[in-house]
């Protein structure tokens, strides 16, 4: 990042959330780079940027789309780059219909299921019946050279998306064919004008021009621009598409795979990257292999073909090897070629099983036990109230943490105890609080946001009963296996056959190095049997090698823990290849082939990174080439061979089935091949671009505790006239479990506050640093008001939009040094269909001066407003507003406006989940509604 000439930070408050990472921005600034911060709030990031551009939360696609339109219509894109490395010239099926044609929807939408059939989005194949798809873990969804994508995509495509058949799309190198990606892109974004930006985002023409000029003048051969984003983009319905928009823009400007370029995902947790690489996510297996889905993956071949067919280009062609190695690592000798390497041991999904779906199941008493491993959902998850209510339905739960977090104490001192909704004596949940070892008390690896796997040495022994998760899980596995050892039930075979014989030290503790060695993989047979693999290219699909996570292969190369390398930075170059280990293959900049032109020459001396050395016949440069090291830039690729051999010399995007950076994503996304602006669910602003108001594929949950504000529907928009965003501040960490217990952090930000503009304060009569109560359709909280010019009211579509800022670190309890109301109680559960990540950045609310009511009156206030607004279970849950589409079926409605008591008016099933949910794929490739039925 320090090499960038312009850094656009959007959807991130980098200086506050990642202060140490921000040093590189400041360094770039000191070197003369221009820093621009686009954000609803003026934050500490804005304070250090050259310019802060206030915007309306949730409208990023409009702004970025307008930049795309700007560079396309003024021929300001990097032509040589896009011709060489992107799919601009690829021709898309003539069946494809754009939002231009369908009032904001793409072709293939099924209003019954609320999902798309993506058939018409495909490339037009050179031969009938062949389609080319994305196989990328790394760029399919966001095009970033840093990020590996967020946890997610629809559960059906772990790796990045079907289908992955062999073949090359038709191309028109002149980019003139109306069905080329380039022309589609031009048409799609033609609506996204600077005027539309003013109208939608509230950004002035002058600010837009400044941004556009900064980007354009800092892109090209000599210069690069870098984007940085964080949860300001992901935590939206449509968040994945926000990132895609930036990816398209960056590809058009040639800002991918080059020094100081790209889109930097700023992730919020020590190893959140690692926990998607080696996921504890319902839809993924290690290495971005998908979990098995019933119907779609009925046998092993179907499973691996859905990830990557052996005939296709690039590294996903070897998906079978990756899967075999994983199965072999888990089930050892029980995994044989005969039993498809124990493929049947894997459980099957038939719909999403994410944390919010699990919550709904909890409320139905469908879940008995819940493990919380260092997580505080009572505070950190959307609709914290429902989380706590859900936990009260459990039979038991295990909370592993350092201190008495609110998810462990909700039964005793949660807000619902205060209000009388729950009575401690009535709650049957059995709770085990197990003290956890912290990062100094165990060895292990974290994977940071740039995919660097860093090993931590153990400093001291954990105190008292504290254990590492490794210890706990190993012990739990041992106990379970011991208790089942005489079982003959076939369902217990996967547990009993599991490779679980990790070496332990004298005190019985398992050696984490043994686990990372298993993740790395080894030769199972042959002359090198037992030796660690050095690269995933050594993985075979015949069971002679094993490896728990193929992308991590190499981390234990030569039997040395490469992640533990700590060669000082002063003794190596800026890439510091001998500091820890980055997956894949210790590569520091992904797609760095694109740092050289089609002929393999650097685009410019200034932005030189990797180049083709014609004498040595190899790629050379300071980084590890992200390309077959000896593939000549002019190599046409052996398309019959499949896999890496099929890559042409300029197929820089080696994980894509066509080797190209995707301006247009024919697969991999469930809500459209091109990012499109939809208004946030509760937005009161009519979508200025299309009749289709909101993302039609969003995942929602209809429940009396999860009502939506009316948004543009209904007649009582004035009940929740404002919107708020949640965020974090430097001084705290997420739900506070690791910061509210520390005096040195607590004193720095001791109380929950809300940030409001002087205009809003005036409007509702709130005094600076006085109390304010924020009420959403879900809950009411109180906060100290910081009345500040850092918040700017925007004029959008003739309306004044007031945005409120609310950090979410506080919660009610008596154990932390500081407490406060939990902001996430306000947020409804509306998820991005691609990632299942909830929206937390745009929520409707109202704000009043003074403190909130206590006890029962608190929820009564919430319900009073619900009635005033006339909310029903389906309010704001209308999927299709484009007039050409028939409405989907409506769930049963209830009338809250009658003023009945809450018990009476909610004399209904506690929740109602008939609404469309994230689609799963059935065998015929059609999307169908997700599995859970009420």
């Amino acid at each position: 990042m320090a090499n960038a000439d312009c850094i656009i930070i959007q959807g991130s408050n980098m200086a506050e959330a990642h202060p140490v990472g921000f040093q590189w921005v400041m360094e770039a600034k000191a070197r003369g780079a221009r820093i621009i911060h686009v954000d609803p709030r003026f934050t500490r990031t804005s304070a250090n940027a050259h310019k802060h551009i206030p915007t309306r939360a949730g409208t990023d696609v409009v702004l970025l789309g307008a930049l795309i339109n700007h560079v396309l219509s003024n021929d300001l894109y990097f032509e040589d780059y896009i011709k060489a490395f992107t799919n601009a010239s690829s021709i898309v099926s003539s069946d494809f219909q754009d939002t231009e044609d369908l009032e904001g929807l793409f072709s293939g939408f099924d209003p019954e299921t609320g999902s798309y059939d993506t058939d018409s989005w495909q490339y037009s194949a050179s031969q009938e019946g062949e389609r080319v798809g994305d196989a990328s873990t790394f760029t399919g969804r966001d095009g970033s050279h840093y990020t590996s994508g967020h946890a997610g995509a629809s559960e059906a495509f772990g790796a990045g998306g079907p289908p992955l058949e062999h073949g090359l799309p038709e191309r028109d190198e002149t980019l003139q064919d109306p069905h080329t990606v380039f022309q589609i892109l031009k048409r799609h974004y033609s609506r996204y004008t600077p005027e539309m930006v003013t109208e939608t985002c509230g950004i002035s023409r002058a600010d837009f021009d400044y941004l556009a000029d900064s980007l354009v003048s800092n892109s090209g051969r000599e210069r690069t621009t870098c984007f940085a984003y964080a949860v300001g983009w992901t935590q939206h319905v449509g968040g994945a598409q926000f990132i895609r928009t930036a990816a398209i823009l960056q590809l058009l400007m040639g800002n991918v795979g080059r020094p100081g370029s790209g889109i930097m995902a700023l992730r919020g947790h020590a190893t959140i990257q690692g926990s998607t690489d080696i996921p504890t996510l319902f839809n993924l297996l290690p290495g971005y292999l998908p979990m098995v889905s019933v119907g779609e993956h009925d046998d092993f071949a179907a499973y691996t073909d859905s990830i990557g067919r052996s005939e296709q280009k690039g590294y996903w062609a070897n998906s079978r090897a990756y899967a075999v190695n994983l199965l072999k690592a888990w089930w050892g000798d029980a995994a044989t070629a005969e039993n498809d390497f124990a493929f049947d041991y894997l459980p099957r999904l038939n719909g999403p099983a994410g944390t919010y779906q699990t919550l709904m199941r909890m409320l139905d008493d469908g879940v008995d036990g819940y493990f919380l491993l260092g997580q505080n959902p009572a505070v950190g998850s959307a609709n914290g109230r429902m989380q706590r209510l859900g936990m009260s339905h459990l039979k038991w739960m295990v909370v592993r943490d350092f201190s008495m977090i609110e998810s462990a104490t909700w039964w005793k001192e949660g807000p619902e105890i205060d209000s009388g909704e729950l009575r401690t004596e009535d709650i049957g949940t059995e709770i085990f609080f197990l003290p956890a070892a912290n990062h100094t008390e165990k060895a292990g690896s974290f994977t940071q946001t740039q995919r660097l796997v860093q090993w931590r040495e153990k400093a001291v022994e954990p105190p008292g009963d504290a254990q590492s998760e490794l210890e706990f899980l190993f012990d739990l596995g041992n106990r379970i296996r011991e208790k089942l050892k005489d079982s003959t039930d076939p369902r217990d075979r996967p547990l009993l056959d599991l490779t679980w014989d990790y070496p332990v030290d004298e005190s019985g503790e398992v050696d984490p190095e043994a686990v990372i060695a298993e993740i790395n993989g080894r030769f199972e047979s042959g002359p090198d049997a037992g030796k660690p693999l050095t690269s995933y290219t050594q993985m075979t699909d015949d069971g002679s090698t094993s490896g728990g996570c193929w992308i991590y292969t190499g981390v234990y190369a030569d039997g040395i823990n490469q992640a533990a390398r700590k060669k000082p930075r002063t003794e190596q170059d800026e890439f510091a290849h001998e500091w820890a280990w980055a997956w894949p293959a210790n590569r520091r900049i992904l797609y760095n082939r694109a740092s050289a032109d089609a002929d393999g020459k650097p685009w410019s001396e200034r932005k030189k990174l990797m180049w083709w050395d014609d004498e040595q016949k190899c790629w050379s440069g300071p980084d590890v080439p992200d390309f077959p090291a000896d593939k000549d830039p002019h190599d046409p690729g052996d398309t019959d061979a499949g896999g890496p051999a099929a890559l042409a010399g300029n197929d820089a995007f080696i994980m894509q089935a066509d080797g190209r950076g995707w301006l247009y994503a024919p697969t991999g996304l469930v809500d459209g091949p091109l990012p499109t602006h939809y208004e946030p669910v509760e937005s009161a602003i009519p979508n200025p671009l299309y009749p289709q108001q909101s993302n039609p594929t969003r995942v929602s949950f209809q429940d009396r505790h999860n009502l939506n504000a009316p948004g543009t529907s209904g007649t009582h928009q004035d009940v929740y006239p404002y919107v708020f965003s949640t965020y974090r501040v430097t001084e705290h960490h997420t739900a506070g479990g690791m910061s509210r217990w520390l005096p040195y952090l607590s004193e720095l930000q001791p109380e929950l506050f809300c940030e409001i503009s002087p205009e809003l304060a005036e409007e509702v009569g709130i005094e600076p640093y006085g109390w304010a109560t924020v009420i959403s359709p879900r809950a009411a909280i109180e906060a100290i008001a910081l009345v500040t010019e850092r918040m700017t009211p925007l004029t959008v579509a003739g309306q004044t939009v007031h945005q409120i800022g609310l950090p979410y670190h506080w919660a009610q309890g008596t154990h932390a040094v500081v407490d406060g109301d939990s902001v996430n109680d306000l947020i409804g559960m509306n998820l991005d269909a691609n990632t299942q990540i909830q929206n937390s950045k745009v929520t409707a609310c109202t704000i009043r001066p003074g403190r909130r009511p206590r006890g029962k009156a608190r929820q009564e206030l919430v319900e009073q407003l619900q009635r005033e607004a006339g909310l029903t279970l389906s309010t704001g849950d209308t999927r299709v507003t484009a007039p050409d589409f028939p409405e989907g079926t409506h769930p049963e409605d209830i009338d809250l406006s009658t003023g009945e008591t809450i018990e009476e008016s909610f004399d209904l099933p506690a929740h109602h989940r008939q609404g469309p949910q994230s689609p799963g794929l059935s065998e015929d490739g059609k999307h169908e509604q997700g599995g859970e039925e009420d």
Binding site: A17, H18, T280, P347, E469, L470, F472, I516
Partner: protein, 188 residues
């Protein structure tokens, strides 16, 4: 307090040491002269990584007699160059916080207070409950008769400060047990 020695009396040293105004050398105490950073006194220094955000700043963890005495940035790290944010800088308190709970706590169903519980017993109870929940909510097939072989009785939600190795074991164990409802912070 050390025994009084006339020659070491600062008033005398003021006259003796060329620090007539008593500003420097004349007035130092033995305690001051013996000052050493506690990093020097540590008997072990571990190379670690900050547990907060995903920047992955290097930390040096100093400990003495099995207790962490100081945590500061690792200047060797190419990522952080020895710098830490306030959270990273406060992480010594995370380790030694007086509010930290280090024993097992148990709340029985309908109980109103926490109780103590032996770790061994707790782990065994959890294993029993795990198997019971797994059994109760086992789904062998879906409504169309297609194999699911999974349980919906157990769910897990992990933070993102769980090591890769730990996540790996968790995924391995839960998947083998058929427990598919596994999520972590990455989605939150």
């Amino acid at each position: 307090m050390p025994r009084f020695s006339f020659l070491e009396w600062p008033v005398v040293r003021q006259l003796r040491d060329g620090d007539i105004l008593g500003r420097g050398t004349a007035v130092t105490s033995q305690h001051t002269r013996d000052k050493k950073p506690r990093t020097v006194e540590a008997d072990h220094v571990a190379h670690s990584v900050c547990p907060y955000c995903a920047v992955g700043c290097g930390q040096l963890v100093y400990s003495k007699d099995g207790k962490v005495t100081q945590i500061e940035g690792d200047p060797d790290s190419p990522i952080s160059r020895g710098r830490l944010c306030p959270k990273g800088a406060a992480s010594e308190q995370l380790v030694n916080s007086p509010r930290r709970v280090t024993t097992v706590r148990y709340r029985r169903p309908h109980g109103t207070e926490w109780e103590d519980l032996d770790l061994e017993t707790a782990l065994d109870m959890i294993a029993d409950r795990f198997l019971e929940a797994r059994r109760r909510h086992w789904e062998e097939t879906d409504e169309k008769g297609r194999t699911l072989r999974r349980t919906m009785g157990i769910a897990s939600l992990g933070g993102a400060t769980i090591d890769n190795e730990e996540n790996y074991l968790a995924k391995k164990l839960f998947t083998a047990a058929g427990a598919v409802q596994m999520e972590n912070q990455a989605r939150i």
